[in-house]
Amino acid sequence: MNAAIRLPVEQAYASELQALARGDDRQKPAGWSLSPQAVLTYLLGGKAGDGTPVTPKYVGRRRLMETAVATLATDRALLLLGVPGTAKSWVSEHLAAAIMGDSTLIVQCTAGTDENQIRYGWNYAQLLAKGPSQEALVPTPLYRAMQTGKLCRLEELTRMGSDVQDTLITVLSEKMMPIPEFNTSIYAQRGFNIIATANNRDKGVNELSSALKRRFNVVVLPLPEDMAEEVAIVSKRVDEMAGGLDLPVPKNVGEEIARVLTIFRELRAGATADGKVTLKTPSGSLSTAEAIATMVGGLSQAAWFDSGKLGAEGLAASLVGAIVKDPVQDKAVLEEYLETVLKKRPDYAGYYAALNAAI
């Protein structure tokens, strides 16, 4: 019995992958374990060649996934872009699992990531004992992916410094990595490629240099298009998180989720739900993940301070926090939204008053 909290997806979905591989007689790009069409079936759901049902891993537009798979088939690197909570890492993991059967060659990029973690590092004891030698070299996931012709995943590419990002340029364009200490290079084997994910709305990220950006094909993963779908996602996550934090969930949580999400979606889309009034959009991303955080914040407030009553007053502070990221610009946006839209909706009267007070 495996006690791991979560297994890599190639193990969790091993039976589906095997079934797909069995019934797959189409042409495969070099180094791929499935044909591009079978990879698409794995991602979007359907039936394997032998009739085994395949669950959908990504719910959304098919042509985005087609572009992603086609990109990897051209040996060009893929950059998945999107606000937090749009399944970027999820898609990247499943892509690597389906194409290579291995999603574990991964670099988590942070502000502290340096070149040694991207190219290769040194085992200093060995280095002192033997000088620069193969034994003293510590390969990184990228190094190993190049050597073995696998997919390397770079998570949150824009979080690491621009100078470190740019070490990827040679790797991507010439498919080789020089090791000046040995006066040699390693050459990527067929099948090698990179899937990077990055956040396009956050502040404090390092924009990709245009030289690097040009070496990626970019697929932007959108937020859920459908209100009902998003409400379901938020309700599920709020329930789960409240359970984890031992917070009681009041009865009216469903209604409040719908209201909060309406506000989020309207501001995000720049138009009211009925499409009649156009709105300005605030600078923040107002993602599904933030809606979840707002709701959990409200629940916590309700449980500890408002004797279990969840309402506009408790949610207002977190709502304002989510919407107003820029104290001048966003505040004007929210004020305008309150005055031109919420004021006229009787069932949002509580929100109108509470938000006005909280601004």
Partner: protein, 752 residues
């Protein structure tokens, strides 16, 4: 009876793919006569299409002489199969004619169902009606969508790729249509009549011409035309169809208008894409060229697109096509690849270039000797109705907007002005609001006729053309205030479509704009429409809503906009603020909206970073509105002008307050006291530095008011201190000056 000597070419209207196949098929068949789906009474005009001066897109216009608004259009683009068939026939000396019902039949049908289509778009498709099911309007597009294609042309070219012979393609299309139409119930009478008419004409042509006959018609009709029907039944069907004469001519057309009947985008005819397909037919690098066109548009818009990215985009498009199991990249593959490789994944950027690429900016040309221009005819009709004659000599015309005839005349002149035909010039523009009278100067110039013909691309009647042109201007308008002026123009000219479009654009733009100046500047024209709209019988509810929204937005934006401005920007904003305030008072909005505006002004006044000029201006507006009591205002002035305030700032505030309110000082003792004590507190240098400002502020008082102000300050029997005469004897003073200057200038003993 066999049909072996008649070849049926079921085409897709405006489909470059079918145009290409058609030309090849005609070349193979070498028919003696080419019969095309189109109004039979316009056959005589067909050869004109092949004239070298005729540059498509052009359209065949048919209209009833007495009612040009009922015009039907048959547009032709370079890539239309019908157009290519005409070119082929003229080049190869084959007989050429239209075989559909004569054009008047279409008018009578339009009249029957006209009730709900009054405002519908005038651009009617060449052979099918707007309101029919999609699989009948564009059966090939429907087949393509069934096959998973968004773009019918890509499907067509893929099919052709697999079936290189043109002959079998048309046979295959005909088979497909047979299946589509199989088991359909009775079709609408009009459609049945059309098909009957075409059958009869084909039969007649078979008797008349030697050699094979080519029939070029919408794919949908092929099975019905091939089927055998007794001629008697067909003739019976056609009994009683309208045979009135209609007027016909060619008119220049535009790319965007070609797409109008369809809407452009996925799955429908996009002229830009079709033209590209046509121009690159038979070339292997069509996909590359399309990507290069995308890159060119992007570069013009200031985006960086490298050649290497184009290569990558093309590789991606090919792989996508392979994954979708298509023989070569089509429209969708190229779009998706461009988004991923050239647009950094931003689908929004695609939306930006989409219109430019897909619609194109082509404008057709017609030979100068083409007969009759419907706009000129419409003008003549309108002139008759308005009892106005075009005269070259200037003539005054006063129009009473309360009478129907006056309103009619004014509307006509306004509409002509929209079209750039300045037959009438409004002599009291700007002063006319609120009155029921307009004064015009009329003078007709011969060039106006030419200009009217140029306007034909916007519509066949003056009303429609003016609407079309104004809508185009509205789409191009960049700022809120220009939009507001355009909407005002649309409403004055009674152009309902343009004003609806303008209001929509205004609402969208108002929501996005946070440019305070723009918002404020858009208020006066809107207020004019709302306040004086009754004279024009306009529905103003929507406008009032919009105005209130603008007021709220302006009030929110104002305090931020008023911060830290330089002199020039502050002056501009102050003037916009005053005009906006005037406009707001004019429309008398709800109490809370008005309060919102005043709160905005108060925030400017209290804001620590607000520019002094604007703070002064806000204070004055609040004072006038009664939000600031006299004592409060005096206290405020005293504080803002007190010695502790930097002099430049105090002066700015002073100017803001008084630049339009000099008279106020005559009557308002409290204010006067505050000003007086400020002036007295200035030291000599500062006082001199501010003299120009004071002069500017008081310059809009006339001499009487100045006198009364002086009296008010110095008491009734005012005497200025000795030596300070308001009107000194200039002549005497000059003489003395000259006396002294003379010696200095001539080098005499000036200083001894």
């Amino acid at each position: 009876m066999g049909h072996n000597d008649v070849a049926y070419f079921g085409i897709r209207h405006h489909g470059p793919g079918s145009a290409d196949s058609l030309v090849q098929a005609l070349q193979d068949l070498q028919p003696g006569a080419v019969l095309i789906e189109g109004p039979i009474d316009a056959s005589a005009l067909l050869p004109l299409l092949a004239r070298p001066e005729m540059q498509p897109p052009v359209a065949l216009l048919c209209y009833r002489e007495e009612d040009p608004a009922s015009t039907s259009f048959w547009p032709f683009a370079e890539f239309s199969p019908e157009y290519q068939a005409v070119l082929w026939a003229v080049d190869n000396k084959a007989a050429l004619r239209f075989i559909d019902l004569p054009s008047p039949a279409r008018f009578s049908e339009a009249a029957v169902e006209g009730a709900e289509k009054v405002d519908a778009d005038e651009a009617k498709e060449s052979s099918e009606r707007d309101d029919v099911a999609p699989h009948r309007r564009d059966p090939i597009g429907t087949l393509a969508r069934a096959a998973g294609y968004e773009d019918g042309e890509s499907w067509w070219s893929d099919i052709i790729e697999q079936n290189p012979e043109p002959g079998p393609i048309f046979a295959a299309i005909s088979d497909a249509m047979m299946t589509l139409r199989d088991g359909e119930g009775s079709i609408a009478e009009f459609e049945a009549q059309r098909e009957a008419h075409m059958r009869l004409e084909i039969a007649a042509a078979r008797k008349e011409f030697d050699g094979p006959i080519a029939v070029v018609c919408g794919a949908w009709h092929v099975p019905a035309l091939q089927a055998t029907h007794p001629q008697k039944n067909d003739q019976a069907l056609l009994k009683g169809i309208a045979r009135r004469k209609s007027t016909m001519t060619w008119a220049p057309w535009t790319g965007p208008r070609l797409a109008l009947g369809y809407g452009y985008g996925a799955g429908v005819v996009a002229p830009g894409w079709c033209k590209h397909l046509w121009r690159t037919r038979g070339r292997r690098d069509a996909a590359t060229l399309w990507l290069a066109m995308i890159a060119a548009v992007l570069r013009v818009k200031g985006h960086l697109v490298s050649t290497a990215s184009l290569i990558e985009a093309e590789r991606l498009a090919r792989t996508l096509a392979a994954i979708r199991e298509r023989p070569k990249p089509g429209f969708e593959e190229l779009r998706d690849a461009a988004i991923a490789a050239l647009f950094n994944g931003e689908a929004l950027l695609w939306a930006l270039v989409e219109a430019e690429l897909l619609l194109g900016a082509d404008v057709g040309e017609i030979p100068p000797d083409t007969p009759l221009a419907p706009l000129i005819e419409d003008l003549q009709r309108n002139q008759k109705a308005a009892r106005l004659k075009p005269e070259a000599l200037e003539r005054e015309l006063s129009v009473d907007l309360r009478s129907d005839s006056g309103l009619f005349r004014s509307t006509l002149l306004h509409r002509l002005n929209v079209l750039g035909v300045h037959w009438g010039k409004l002599t009291d523009a700007g002063r006319s609001r609120g009155t029921f009278r307009e004064r015009w100067t009329l003078a007709w110039e011969p060039e106006y006729a030419v200009r009217l013909v140029e306007n034909l691309i916007y519509g066949p009647t003056i009303e429609k053309a003016a609407n079309g042109r104004l809508i185009q201007m509205i789409e191009a308008a960049a700022t809120l205030d220009t939009l507001a002026v355009l909407v005002q123009g649309a409403i004055t000219a009674g152009l309902s479509e343009a004003s609806t479009a303008g209001l929509g654009a205004l609402e969208a733009r108002a929501a996005r704009s946070s440019e305070c100046l723009e918002i404020l500047a858009s208020m006066p024209p809107l207020a004019d429409i709302i306040r004086y709209g009754e004279a024009r019988k306009t529905e103003t509810n929507r406008l009032s809503g919009l105005m209130e929204r603008l007021i709220v937005e302006g009030a929110i934006a104002l305090p931020y906009a008023a911060r830290d401005l330089d002199e020039q920007a502050a002056a501009t904003l102050a003037s916009a603020m005053r005009k906006a305030d005037e406009a707001i008072r004019l429309v008398e909005p709800g109490e809370d909206v008005l309060n919102g505006w005043r709160n905005g002004l108060a925030a400017v006044l209290e804001g620590s970073r607000a520019t002094a000029l604007l703070a002064g201006c806000a204070a004055h507006l609040l004072y006038e509105a009664g939000r600031l009591s006299a004592e409060a205002a005096a206290r405020l002035l005293g504080r803002r002008l007190s010695p502790g305030t930097p002099v430049a700032e105090a002066a700015g505030f002073f100017e803001g307050f008084f630049s339009t309110a000099g008279q106020r000082l005559i009557y308002d003792e409290g204010l006067r006291g505050a000003v007086d004590s400020w002036l007295k507190s200035l030291d000599e240098d500062a006082f001199i530095a501010h003299l120009p400002l004071l002069r500017r502020v008081f310059s809009n008082l006339d001499s009487m008011e100045r006198r009364r102000l002086i009296e008010a300050v110095l008491g009734r029997a005012a005497r200025l201190p000795a030596g300070l005469t308001p009107t000194p004897d200039g002549g005497e003073a000059w003489r003395r000056h000259l006396e002294r200057l003379g010696p200095l200038l001539t080098g005499g003993n000036g200083n001894g």
